[in-house]
Amino acid sequence: MFDISPAEWIAILLSLRVAIIATLVATPFGIALAWLLARREFWGKSVLDALVHLPLVLPPVVTGYLLLLSFGRRGLVGAWLADHLGIVFAFRWTGAALACGIMSFPLLVRPIRLSIEAVDRRLEQAAGTLGAAPWQVFATVTLPLALPGVLAGMVLGFAKAIGEFGATITFVSNIPGETQTISSAIYSLIQTPDGDAAAGRLVLISIVISMGALMASEWFARRATQRLHGN
């Protein structure tokens, strides 16, 4: 049962790589957006808020198709990126990372936003009276106090990214060794005769990864509360 074949290893490692890169690249954007939504009032804020959450409620196949239209070879953004920066997303693992990053973005942003909202603004004011400019207040007060929330968001985003299926397969297809993640490998396996055992192994592995990530996320969230209470 636990003889993981080379092909399965490739899918597992690819999934990990895709999810880790997606999370790392999405995090700075997630922090910036979470801060904007938590701390600033501006025109169009509710639209931006809805836009961030859109991948959560949109059918994944729609998100994937929209990505194909915009980031595909002939897509507006995709063509420009390929011509000017040499970055290609279509049918590459980078495209899988992009799809996973976008699909997991709402789950990444939410804990960060909540933890920034929980930071006492009176502490930020106090830092200001001590001479800290707004960016220094962010770097030395807001972000450190929100850090456990940032880590919780990253872990949750990672868990979502590693399980992403619909948008990824729509956008970059299901190419072994390039875009075939654990999820799309399972999908292929259950459509082949005798694929049950292999599919079972991958299912078990994805359950373990997801459970581990959820538990880590909870642990970080608990740390956040402790930190805010100064112990």
Partner: protein, 219 residues
């Protein structure tokens, strides 16, 4: 010299205050809800007046007709809050050092030692704020504000959250602080406290200045 001449509407409450102070310790006296905290929040730059001028020595900090508003971090005005507001993720030493670091001033170990001795907090340096008593927290907040080298120190009921015994513990430190020579604005609703500390009184009632002068106006 501190010059304040501001108006501010806060919901139903209107604040219209004008005073000048040469005193070393200006006591801002009034019942709760008189507008004392709003007034010093404006001096600190945390709240903007609707109209008016705030000036410290030769520098205009706020002038609404000229569109001037110096942000809090450039005012070099220290603020000791009633609830201390120590940064919970930093230990006492890092809290005390925070203002110096943010202003990119060179380390001054002699001054650091002098202030920690003055306030008797030298034995607390490695603790987190969560592990301090109310009185200790307030003393650290005083030290932190002093070590940021302010031109003016604002104190908003620094004894307000402490019980009687603790007040007696802090008061001597405040007297020592006054004798340090940094000008202070001291907010309180306790006349006895101000008689011990203030050199000049601004009396505030429902958002208006009703009396100005020496500590004798408190009677």
């Amino acid at each position: 010299m501190l010059r304040v001449d501001v108006t501010k509407q806060l919901g139903e409450f209107s604040l219209e205050a004008s005073f000048e102070s040469q005193g070393r310790v200006t006591g801002l006296f009034g019942a709760s809800g008189a507008g004392k905290t709003s007034l010093i929040n404006m001096i600190a730059g945390l709240m903007r007046p609707d109209r008016g001028v705030i000036a410290l020595d030769d520098e205009t900090l706020d002038d609404t007709s000229a569109g001037v508003h110096v942000p809090p971090h450039r005012r070099r005005i220290g603020y000791v809050f009633q609830d201390a507001r120590l940064l919970p993720h930093l230990d006492v030493r890092q809290n005390l050092d925070y203002g110096r670091r943010m202003n990119r001033l060179a380390a001054d170990p002699a001054q650091f030692t002098r202030i920690t001795d003055l306030l008797d907090i030298g034995n607390l340096l490695d603790r987190r704020p969560g592990k301090l008593s109310g009185g200790e927290r307030q003393r650290v907040a005083l030290g932190r504000a002093l070590l940021s080298k302010p031109r003016l120190l604002l104190l908003d009921e620094p004894l307000g959250s402490l019980d009687e015994g603790r007040k007696e513990e802090i008061l001597p430190y405040l007297v020592r602080l006054r004798d340090e020579g940094i000008p202070m604005v001291y907010v309180s609703h306790d006349a006895a406290e101000l008689r011990q500390l203030a050199t000049q009184i601004v009396m505030l009632k429902r958002g208006r200045v009703t009396a100005l002068g020496g500590v004798k106006v408190l009677t």
